[in-house]
Structure formats: C-alpha cells, structure tokens
Amino acid sequence: MGVSALTPALDKAEPMSRPNLTLTNVSRWFGAVEVLRDISLAIGDGEFVALVGPSGCGKTTLLNILSGDDQPSSGSVDRQSRMRMVYQQDGLFPWQTVVENIALGLRHLIDPAELQSQIGQMVRLIQLEGFEDHYPHQLSGGMRQRVELARALAGKSDILLLDEPFSSLDYLTRLRLRHELARLLHERPRTVVLVTHDIEEAAQLADRVIVLTERPAQIRRELRIRTPRPRDLTQPEVVQATRVILAELGIETEDAIVGESQ
C-alpha cells in the first residue's frame, strides 16, 4: 500500500520553539471521579495542537484547565500569554450585532476611528460584509462560528482555544470552515489548541495531534504532522494520520495500520 513510506513523518514529539503553554503532571478529580491523570504537555509558540479522544474522556476539562476556567487538583499550569476561547455554539452575545460582538475583542482600542477600521478589517476577513448590523439569531450556524472566530482573533491574544468549534455544523459547512480557519490563521497567526471529536479535522488542521485515553484521560499517543498547512483532507499524510488516530481509538482494526511502527 506504500503506507510504510509515509510513516516516518508520524513519529513522537520533538522540541518546539519556546513553550507558550505548559502543563506539568496535571490531574483533575471531580469528587471520587478521576478525569485527568498526570498530563504533561508543552505547546510551542505558533503551534497548532489538536486534542482528540473518546467522548466524555475529559477533553473539555483539559481545555478548561488550559483556559484557567478550572484548576487542576494537582500539577501546575504555566500560561505565558493572553488567550481567547471559541465555543461549540452560542458563545456570541445574542443581544449584540455582529459588529458589537467583534468589538468586544477590540476593547483595548480607545480611538474610535481605529476601532472602526479594525472591525471593518475583521468583517472583510470573515467575508460577512453586509451583515454588520445583523444579530446572531439572524445568521446561519456557519456564519455565527465565523463571527466567533473573528471576535477571538481580533485584538492582541496569542493563544486560541477552540472547543469543538464546528461540531454543531453540517458536514459541508464544517469542511468549508476548516479552510476558513486555516486561512484566518495564515492572516493572523496564533498558537492554537483545538479540542475535537472530529478526527479528520484534527489531522487536517493540526501540527500535532494528541490522542487521549478513556477516562481518566492520559496521553496515549502524540502524532506530528509535517505537511505544511493549509492541507487538503485527501493529502496522504492527513489520510495516514486519520488512520493512526482511528486505530489508537480502537475504531478501526489493526490491519489499517499495517506497517505502522509503534
């Protein structure tokens, strides 16, 4: 199948640039339930990391700890920079228009002219010209998530946390928004942590995919994907990574990763 020729690219982690976000031996208990066990993770500046794992394994808990909305029961979190989060859905304020929501991300700007021009830029970037004064409930799901991305990317954050940002969308819109996200990140580079249950999404977008185990979540496998971003879904390394992740999660049989070095 020529699969083995591709495998060298899918190996263990290697040192990145200066870490932006570091977890050291993080565990999290909710009462008697252990959700995260001894997770250590260093995310480099400008890196795009995807966290995948079975549902209910603690992905979102991990993200909440990264964002500071939750504290680890033991271990430590080192956060170097300002971060913004994009939620599954309905993270926009429904009582504010597209422009007002985006302006939230630009609250540090005092000069009204500067603010207007920055908002204009963001609206153009997400191609929603003409919808400036619409409210979220007047937009489609895909448009709403684009506005969320714009709000998070406006201004001076360094880290973008994405909590299953496209999971509420239909398949085609999801594929389209992946390209959109890749394009936006090209324009405004950020360190990104993406939590997703969409394995293709992880393989297509991320520099590094971290596969978590069932609860209590531990890091089961790290894959590095070297094909430069943006990538297509059908590129060999993306397909291969998807296979490996599926096998790691026990969804496809071992046959699928014949030739894969463990």
């Binding site: 964002s67 971060m83 989060m85 304020f93 009582w95 939230l104 991300g105 609250r107 409210y135």
Partner: protein
Amino acid sequence: MGDAATIFLIFLAVYFPVALATIAAVGSIPAVYFRVARAYGLTGVEGLSKVTLPAIMPQIITTLRVTAGLAWLIDVAAEMVAGRDGLGFAVMDSRNGLRTDLLIVQMIVIGLIGVTMDRVLMRLTRIPSVQWGYQR
C-alpha cells in the same frame, strides 16, 4: 389613606412575581456568557449592564406584561372596596345608582386601559437587542 393602601396592595402582588422571575432569569443565563464576559474583561458594573441585564431582558419584559395586568386589576378592585375616587369607585357608584349605561362604559374603559398598557409594553419586545429572546 385609600391610595397608600392600594399602592401597598399592588406592591405586595407584584413584587414577588417580578423578583422571582428575575432570579430565575439570571439563574438560567448560560454560563458561557459569563465566561466570555470574563475573557473580554467585562466585569463588575460593566458585566451587569452589558451581560446580565441584556441576557434577562426578554424574560423581564414578559414578566412586566403579566404583572402590569395584575397591578391594574388589583388597582381597580381596591378602588371598588376602599376607594373614594377612581374607576373602580365609579363602577361601584354606578352600580349603586343603577346606572347600567355608565357601568358598561366604565367596564369598557377599564378593559381598554388594560389592553393599552399591554400594547405599550409589547412594543418593548420589538427592540432589536431583545428580539433573540422571542425567536428561538
């Protein structure tokens, strides 16, 4: 004394529904909004005026519509029992004087005032920034 007693009665009838509805409305604000507010630096008074209040506005307007009708009914009833003037008093006066014609007009006026109050409050639901609360 009539007015003070009426006002107190209206207060008693309206305060608790409004307070309870407000508490329930605040309690049902999705946690995401507060997290977003914190992430974008909307805290304290700003958090209250730009997040909490707009988030409960649609429910508050509905509660106001319900309780305004209630207040109006109590007002008229209190005037009937203890008033020395007002529409409620006039209704009783017409009844005692066997002026059915006046009585009917007064009933219609009471109804119209009630409907008008509701219409005015209903206009609040057309404010663009609360529309979201009525269309899901």
